[in-house]
Amino acid sequence: MQIFPCPFCGPRNETEFHFAGELGKVRPDTGKEVNARDWATYLYAQRNEKGLVREVWLHLTCSELFVMERDSLTMDVRASKSLRGDAL
């Protein structure tokens, strides 16, 4: 069981968190024409890096959506900050 740092709550057990996706997904402006390839990239393409990753996680108990930097191989957690950049 891993310990993840919620930027608001502090360290908590991994069971309180939900993986929300990789950081950096930007929703295309669907008010304008979006081509199928760009939309597919937004929906499905993953960097899926082995090693250092930056991801968005949801802390289920306090609903904080935040950015976590961790290592997908060693499971070391480096840092976290709120999605809006508020530090711990």
Binding site: M1, C6, F8, C9, G10, P11, R12, N13, T15, E16, L60, T61, C62, S63, E64, S82, D86
Partner: protein
């Protein structure tokens, strides 16, 4: 669909449960619980704020739940809805959460059956998972008394989880 009425224990009326070693679980009736959400609602509340693992001693207090939300306990009556003047969303949640006090020397040991808890690791929020249920957990009035708010529909499950955890001590 089958009739499973018998498989599920009928919910009992909430009563105080006394276990060995002076451990008790007591249902608590609060005058009011109010959910307040808004920017800097934590900074703007005039009531003492409960966080983990401090001990709340006031009768009216605000539970720090998240960056922009508190649960006001025993506060004044406020109208439900969006309060544009103070830019806060307000909801009466008195019937949303059932509240229990778990008291005794070994209360913390019981709770550790349900979550990875440490008194020496503070948290700004009292919201956490306990026995797999979303709860608000903090210490109330004494260092050996833990108060839990749990969704009403899950109070039965919570009570049962505690009962199973007791004999394991």
């Amino acid at each position: 669909m089958r009739d499973d009425s018998k498989k599920w224990d009928a919910p009992g009326a909430p009563t105080t449960l006394e276990m060995s070693d002076g451990l008790t679980i007591t249902p608590v009736q609060l005058a009011r619980q109010t959910l307040l959400s808004g920017v800097d609602v934590l900074g703007r509340t005039q009531h003492p704020i409960a966080a983990w693992s401090g001990v709340v001693t006031a009768q009216t207090y605000a539970l720090s739940l998240r960056r922009d939300r508190v649960l006001l306990v025993n506060g004044p009556a406020l109208a439900d809805g969006w309060h544009g003047d103070i830019a806060q969303a307000v909801s009466d949640v008195s019937d949303c959460y059932s509240v229990f006090d778990i008291r005794g020397d070994r209360a913390f040991s019981v709770l550790k059956r349900g979550a990875e808890l440490r008194l020496d690791v503070p948290s700004k929020s009292v919201a956490r998972l306990l026995f797999g249920l979303g709860v608000f957990l903090y210490r109330f009035e004494a260092t050996d008394t833990f108060r839990v708010h749990v969704f009403r529909g899950q109070a039965e499950t919570f009570f049962k989880s505690l009962k199973f955890a007791f004999p394991s001590l």
